[in-house]
Symmetry: C2
Subunit: 169 residues, 2 copies
């Protein structure tokens, strides 16, 4: 019943324009985001001062609404299956400077201020701290990745204590 009420709410909320025309979605001036079969939209988050890529996550419609209204990033945590107010445990909130939507409105870009903080639960500033080698792959070997960042901004054991690790196998 709760699901039915929520669906009813989302269907009739005028915040998002119904997706009725490809031209309107691509060239129009109304937000008509496309959430996938799980109700999620992918989000890429960059540092507003350096432009550096910080993290990749997902939002549901409620997380998007909270992010727009509070100007603090909220995501949908797929591992915890709940809204995730980024920084609530660590203190590393993301102050949203800009949100953009892409051509077919199925992806979002957040530009955020994190001050001297970090965005990665492992302790690095960016989640993208390792690179993949380019060129011909030897089929007999696993691909070795290279650390591009070595300095952790914080010690996750001190910050997260007994919180379960969101990384899943």
């Amino acid at each position: 019943m709760q699901i039915a009420i929520l669906s009813f709410f989302h269907y009739f909320t005028p915040m998002f324009k119904k997706r009725e025309s490809v031209f309107e979605i691509e060239e129009g001036k109304f937000l008509s985001p496309k959430f996938d079969n799980n109700g999620l939209i992918p989000v890429t988050t960059t540092d507003s001062s350096s432009g550096e890529l910080l993290m990749h996550g997902f939002m549901n419609s409620e997380a998007l609404k909270k992010t727009i209204e509070t100007k603090e990033a909220h995501y949908w945590s797929r591992s915890r299956e709940k809204i995730w107010h980024k920084g609530k445990i660590s203190g590393f909130f993301q102050n949203v400077k800009e949100i953009r939507v892409d051509d077919d409105q199925d992806a979002l870009w957040l530009s955020v201020d994190i001050g001297d903080g970090a965005s990665c639960h492992v302790g690095y500033k960016s989640c993208f701290y390792r690179s993949i080698p380019l060129g011909k792959i030897k089929n007999t070997k696993e691909l070795e990745i290279k650390f591009e960042e070595n300095k952790k901004i914080f010690d996750p054991k001190k910050i997260y204590k007994d919180e379960p690790n969101p990384t899943k196998l």
Copy 2:
């Protein structure tokens, strides 16, 4: 039968290390990407010279392998349901300068050189050419988005001719 052979191939190919330990995934030196239930991993692509966010897409394992080996971006097109060699129709290939993987290895970042080209099928350089307003949402109104780029790099009608538009409702 073809599916069975492909699965067999992917299961035993040593290119990706099996995900066996959270520590190895986060702090280890081997590539162990996590593909979702549809066999896809999200990819964010930025301009290697300006750092600008260009597009967001998805790869399957074959697209990732082709990208690594050819150093040209290949994605999985969800609307066309096939491997998509970016630039094959438009000529706007993406020359891959770096690929990074995130902490839990379920997202990729491509840094690419597109010269004076564009990455958006609508004609703009970046797919993220519109911003979403921040602040309190009026529940009686649809959200109006704002164009941040106005100059198209190319005319999609001339470049794509009769190709079907990948944007779906």
